[in-house]
């Protein structure tokens, strides 16, 4: 089993005690690593020189004579310019292109019949060499597990994470700018960008969320009273001058002030003081005759300095505040020294205060508040101490790993600064929570580089692994239990890992996996965009659309959570529906609004290919599209996408196509340029023609009987949907298993697959076949695969 052999723990609970030296050492090792990272090469076990020699001598001549006449340069047929491939490395890198080439060579429909023929021996040699060129990676030598580009939470993950972190559903996250899709999914690091618009939304969201999670008492009203120098009097001891009050001999200034409430006020004085006999003037401040503070008025000449005297009163009301000058002195000029006069000048005088917030009664606090704000300052507990106690667990949960001492300290300081600037304690915690929610450690699934150990690509830390796992299965953060397992470093114990995966799949949060993985794999998220012509399809309503989608999600959830074979996706003779949906399908005997498992035996429904959701999402607004359905099956179930339509589709100069859909398609296929691809797609789509554009069963189209017969590439003759489904489930079972494994690996990793991932896929497939294609085996094998467990490098070819 895999061992946790990383020598560095980047987020060390004990870092504080070990002190800064460890931190420095870590940084230095990281630097060393990042220097050497670029020189790391994945071990492929390939002798490039020998392989290129074969390519130049034996293979290129065959390509040249059989393929390049059409497939080269900018006008290459089907946009496939094989002339671009100059080395065997370039072939390995673009292996998907070459898989298609091999497919067509094996089907013997390339080169086309009207081109120079390719001799059987050459065809065989070409296919065999190409297969080895794109497949021969030495899987025994730890192939590169690949590198996932730093992934931002997408909007679904953001909303779920906020929900699981704070118990708040931030529905507005649905209005974040759309997450772009790559490789069919919206959780791909390379295409998840962070434009300023999104940052704006994150900031507003953080404010909204923090105010919902934590209730801060509204600070009370502000009191402010300013006295101008000319309003002051001190009897014969001073007088107002231009812009200041000159306090020149011992005496008192008395100010009557109505202070509206009990609590803290502050008296701010902008003053200068001039010394005499080496001593500065002193001022004594009293309230109602009681001494508050006595201090020395020490300043640069003519540069008023701000003196702040806190005043605390136990009851609101009229107060008399006195400022007393206590140590006047003058020294005559003598022995060439100038005269000295100890005086005070008052430039500004302000009394201000803010009414303390009324604490919010315990009963009005939301649950999140009580969970987060577990400590409050009191005598003996400073604001920073209390804030630290609150913020450490909060930041650790939000960052999905223990927050470092430094991070917690900075957060506490941020809260404290806000509090000193006038926020309540809770308001200060809100500000810190805002910083947490906008922090890159929250918004990104951070995985830090680590050095190779003994020629092995480094493992993810346990916390990083827990994060990958929970975003894979829950589209959300790890829960307390999973983090606990990670902290104990038990996540690589197979039995514990299995147990955790099982628990997570059973948890209702795994519905997110069904909706996000299957919703994208099967393109069901696009169903909203399908708006059929209401005149032709009055039965398709928004309600039916949602019920149909729900059917497919429940169907998949049942297979995932019930640990059934993935083959049931294709051939299950049951589905999930309520009365309305059953009525739409014309299946009798289903009463009531509740969804339940319904047998579809004898009702023309078999697995997800016959679900209305999928039949509709592959249709045009006014009719079915056998081409789209065929392409959908090739793309999403068989993993053999047909070549894309060539650029600048040649204009059909002949007469417009006429007749039934089948006849029109056959006319289209008469053109050899179209035929080569359409013969892959059309027979599949034609077999599904018994379902109309919204997935209802039919035997006639525009009054004409529907002919669903056809011949699949490879020669299998089929007729109707059941034949097609059986064919996929038997002869093409391996392709289906592989296709689903690949799609799920893309989703689990958040990156596109590369040639070196083949080893991992092979392994997953082998295990699946061993284990009756059980769904949980698929998930488990993905989780323990090297690409999921380890940090590799970006494509080094």
């Amino acid at each position: 089993m895999l061992l946790h052999n990383s020598p560095i723990r980047f987020f060390d609970f004990n870092a504080r005690r070990k002190g800064a030296r460890l931190f420095t050492a870590t940084v230095m090792m990281l630097l060393t690593y990042s220097l050497s990272a670029s020189t790391l090469q994945p071990a492929l076990g390939i002798d490039w020189v020998a392989r290129d020699k074969e390519f130049f001598e034996k293979i290129q001549p065959i390509l040249k004579s059989a393929c390049l006449e059409c497939h080269s340069g900018s006008e290459a047929d089907a946009g496939l310019a094989l002339s671009n491939f100059k080395t065997s490395k370039s072939i390995l890198k673009e292996r998907q292109t070459w898989e298609k080439v091999i497919q067509r060579l094996e089907l013997e429909d390339m080169p086309p019949k009207d081109a120079a023929p390719l001799a059987g021996a050459d065809r065989k040699r070409l296919v065999e060499w190409l297969k080895s060129a794109i497949n021969d990676i030495d899987c025994g030598r730890t192939p590169n597990p690949g590198s996932v580009t730093l992934r931002r939470l997408n909007r679904v993950e953001y909303r779920n994470t906020v929900r699981d972190l704070l118990g708040i559903d931030y529905a507005l996250a649905a209005g974040f700018p759309g997450d772009d899709v790559g490789y069919g999914f919206d959780n791909i690091g390379d295409v998840l960008t962070l434009p300023p618009l999104l940052m704006e939304k994150y900031l507003t969201a953080a404010e909204d969320i923090s105010r919902k999670a934590i209730l801060a008492p509204e600070p009370g009203p502000v009191f402010e009273s300013i006295r101008k120098p000319k309003q002051l009097t001190a009897g014969s001891s001073g007088k107002a001058n231009d812009g200041y009050f000159s306090f020149y001999s011992n005496g008192k200034i008395t100010i009557e002030e109505q202070l509206p409430w009990k609590g803290e006020f502050s008296l701010e004085l902008g003053m200068t003081g001039s010394p005499a006999a080496g001593e500065y003037p002193r001022m004594l401040v009293s309230v109602d005759g009681k001494k508050v503070k006595e201090f020395s008025v020490q300043s640069e000449p003519d540069t008023p300095k701000n003196f702040v005297v806190p005043i605390r009163i136990s009851k609101g009301g009229k107060r008399s505040i006195t400022l007393e000058f206590t140590n006047d002195k003058t020294v005559e000029a003598k022995n060439g020294k100038p005269a000295e006069d100890r005086n005070i000048a008052i430039y500004d005088l302000k009394i201000s205060g803010q009414k303390p917030a009324d604490p919010i009664p315990e009963s009005q606090l939301p649950e999140s508040h009580r969970k987060i704000v577990k400590a409050t300052p009191s005598t003996g507990v400073s604001v920073e101490q209390a804030a630290t106690e609150v913020l450490r667990p909060l930041a650790s949960k939000a960052f999905r790993r223990p927050a470092t001492t430094q991070e917690v300290k900075r957060l506490a300081t941020l809260a404290n600064d806000a509090i000193e600037a006038g926020e309540s304690y809770e308001g200060g915690i809100q500000v810190a929570l805002q910083a947490i929610l906008v922090s890159p450690s929250f918004l990104f699934k951070v995985e830090e580089p680590a050095p190779q150990v003994a020629g092995q690509f480094p493992l993810l830390t346990d916390f990083e692994l827990a994060t990958r796992l929970s975003y894979f299965l829950w589209s959300s953060m790890p829960d307390q239990e999973l983090l606990g397992v990670a902290q104990k470093k038990q996540l690589r114990d197979p039995s514990i890992l299995k147990q955790q995966i099982e628990r997570m799949i059973k948890h209702k949060r795994s519905n997110a996996f069904v909706e996000n993985f299957a919703g994208q794999w099967l393109t069901l998220r696009k169903l909203d965009q399908f708006i059929p012509d209401a005149n032709l399809f009055p039965k398709w309503t928004t309600e039916i659309r949602e019920l149909a989608r729900r059917e497919t999600y429940l169907f998949i959830a049942d297979i995932v959570q019930g640990n059934k074979s993935m083959m049931r996706l294709l051939d299950a003779d049951y589905s999930f529906m309520n009365d309305k949906l059953a009525k739409f399908y014309e299946i009798p005997g289903v009463e009531g609004d509740e969804f339940r498992m319904v047998s579809t035996k004898g009702h023309k429904r078999l697995g997800l290919l016959t679900h209305a959701s999928i039949l509709a999402v592959t249709s045009n607004p006014t009719r079915t599209s056998p081409v789209k359905r065929g392409k959908w099956v090739l793309d999403n179930l068989l993993g053999t996408p047909p070549p894309a339509a060539p650029p600048g589709v040649p204009e059909l100069d002949k007469a417009e196509l006429t007749g039934t859909l089948r006849q029109r398609m056959e006319q289209h296929r008469a053109d050899p340029a179209c035929a080569s691809c359409h013969k892959l797609m059309d027979p599949i789509g034609m077999a599904m023609e018994n379902y109309d554009a919204i997935g209802r069963w039919r035997t006639l189209d525009y009054g004409q009987p529907i002919d669903t017969s056809g011949e699949l590439p490879g020669g299998d003759k089929i007729k109707g949907p059941a034949d097609l489904i059986r064919n996929i489930g038997s002869k093409n079972a391996e392709k289906f298993v592989r296709c689903l494994s690949e799609k799920m690996l893309v989703y689990a990793l958040g990156r596109g697959l590369e040639y070196y991932d083949r080893c991992a896929i092979d392994k997953i497939q082998a295990k699946l076949i061993q284990d009756d294609t059980k769904f949980s085996t698929l998930i488990y094998e993905i989780v323990v695969s090297d690409p999921f467990q380890r940090k590799g490098v970006r494509d080094a070819l």
Binding site: A37, G79, V181, T193, L203, N535
Partner: protein, 448 residues
């Protein structure tokens, strides 16, 4: 003490509505209108993209020169005829295959404002180039609260593939800040409204707006430090993501700083209902979004704006105008007259809405003339004929007189393969951007 009273925005929220605006006049607060007018009216640049090309026979005017007659597709612009220039013969070479095979829609979308040839990838190492609006925004963007706005009707694609091995980022985004950072668009009119005029945020009693800005600034400063620390630990590809994060933080900081200058408060909210979300009806949705365009421009919140009527390759049906089949499917008309007629209907539909926007600007007087005198509003597609997917002789028009630089609106025809980027370069020069080239430009377009 100020009394806490019900914010007007709170009242507006309650009145949320899907109705589009009857009038723009009198709905902007006086103070802001004055600010927009200023001593010298600013030049505004806007780019509008329609997907899937156009039915060219109904688009291109028969004759050239200032006396050209409006074609059926341009008919809705009749009222604004004196401001409409037509540019025929321009080419978007970056959208061509160049040995990359299929994917004309993704390439056209990505290339439309960048002139670049995007790298064919489904995700890894996505690469386009900076777009023309962003080049302008980098120079003149600091003068307004938003350096640029990116708007449209369709969000990002939700699942599956978009076009032949191209990531959906290419077909969904018009504006690109640099070669690998697309700027997604906002398609919810209420969200745009909130960004322009504040979202009814509750400013607590006794807590000033300044205090709130201070907090925001402290939060942003804080996370910047975090990001810098993180940056040092990561590899190159990941660092690029953190760079993007840091850029976004700084950009938001400067928007906050500008917003305090602009006094967006109670008195800054226009006297119109806040839209309540995305209406189901496409025309209503479009009109509301165009209302937001008009508000943004007339309140001088930005001078650079891009707008996508839909993502490139979009396949919406338009049953309300007799074209229920998907737009993209129809565009592959195979010379069917019926399909071509429907494409033209969709073209007309978009043009009517463009005219609706111009109606908002019409007759607005400002220093030195009318608002449309000080606009360059480009409208068009990166594909010419949707069936052939050709990227030459593109449908391109411009509304506005570019601050008087276009003396007389006319129909100009340019030699084959004249880059569209030559026109962009001309536009950049008018905005005060000193550039010698943009995209695949060969020189500043000569016309006028």
């Amino acid at each position: 003490m100020k009394n806490q009273r019900l914010s007007r925005r709170t009242i507006l929220r309650g009145l949320g509505t899907a109705m589009s605006l009857p009038l723009l006049d009198a709905m902007l607060p006086v103070g802001r209108l004055a600010a927009a007018a200023g001593p010298q009216a600013p030049l505004r640049t806007m780019y509008f993209m329609v997907p899937n090309g156009a039915h060219m026979p109904a688009w291109t005017p028969a004759s050239e020169g200032p006396g050209y007659a409006l074609t059926p597709t341009m008919e809705p612009l009749a009222k604004h005829r004196e401001f409409i220039s037509v540019f025929s013969g321009l080419t978007l070479d970056g959208a061509r295959a160049h040995e990359d095979g299929a994917g004309d829609h993704a390439r056209s979308g990505a290339s439309f404002l960048t002139g670049a040839h995007p790298k064919k990838t489904d995700g890894a190492d996505i690469k386009n180039s900076v777009s023309v609006d962003q080049v302008a925004a980098q120079v003149i963007g600091s003068k307004t609260r938003f350096a640029s706005l990116e708007l449209g009707l369709e969000g990002s694609t939700q699942a599956g593939g978009c076009d032949s091995g191209y990531s959906c980022a290419y077909s969904s985004n018009l504006a690109w800040r640099n070669e690998n950072s697309p700027l997604p668009k906002e398609n919810d009119p209420s969200a745009v409204f909130d960004r322009l005029f504040g979202n009814g945020e509750k400013v607590g009693e006794g807590k000033s707006r300044t205090a709130r800005l201070e907090r925001r600034k402290s939060v942003l400063d804080f996370v910047q430090e975090d990001a810098k620390t993180l940056h040092k630990k990561l590899g190159i590809a990941d660092q690029r993501k953190v760079d993007e994060y840091l850029y976004a933080v700084r950009e938001v900081e400067s928007r906050l700083a500008n917003s305090s200058k602009l006094r967006i408060g109670e008195d800054g909210v226009p006297n119109i209902p806040r839209p309540s979300g995305i209406p189901h009806d496409r025309s209503q949705h479009c009109k509301l979004m165009l209302d937001m365009v008009a508000l943004a421009i007339r309140s001088d919140s930005t001078r650079v704006l891009t707008f996508g009527f839909a993502n490139e390759g979009n396949n919406w049906g338009y049953p309300e105008i007799g074209a229920p089949e998907g737009h993209h499917d129809l565009s592959h008309h195979g010379k069917s007259e019926e399909k071509q007629a429907k494409i033209q209907k969709i073209n007309l539909f978009h043009m009517q809405h463009f005219a609706y926007l111009l109606d908002h600007f019409a007759d607005v007087e400002e220093a030195g003339g009318k608002l449309l005198d000080n606009c360059m509003i480009l409208y068009g597609s990166g594909i010419s004929d949707g069936d052939r997917h050709n990227h030459d002789d593109l449908p391109i028009i411009m509304a506005g007189k570019a601050g008087g630089k276009i003396k007389k609106a006319s129909h100009w025809r340019f030699p084959k393969d004249t880059p569209l980027c030559d026109l962009y370069l001309w536009m950049l020069n008018q905005s005060g951007v000193k550039a010698d080239s943009f995209g695949d430009s060969k020189g500043v377009l000569k016309f006028s």
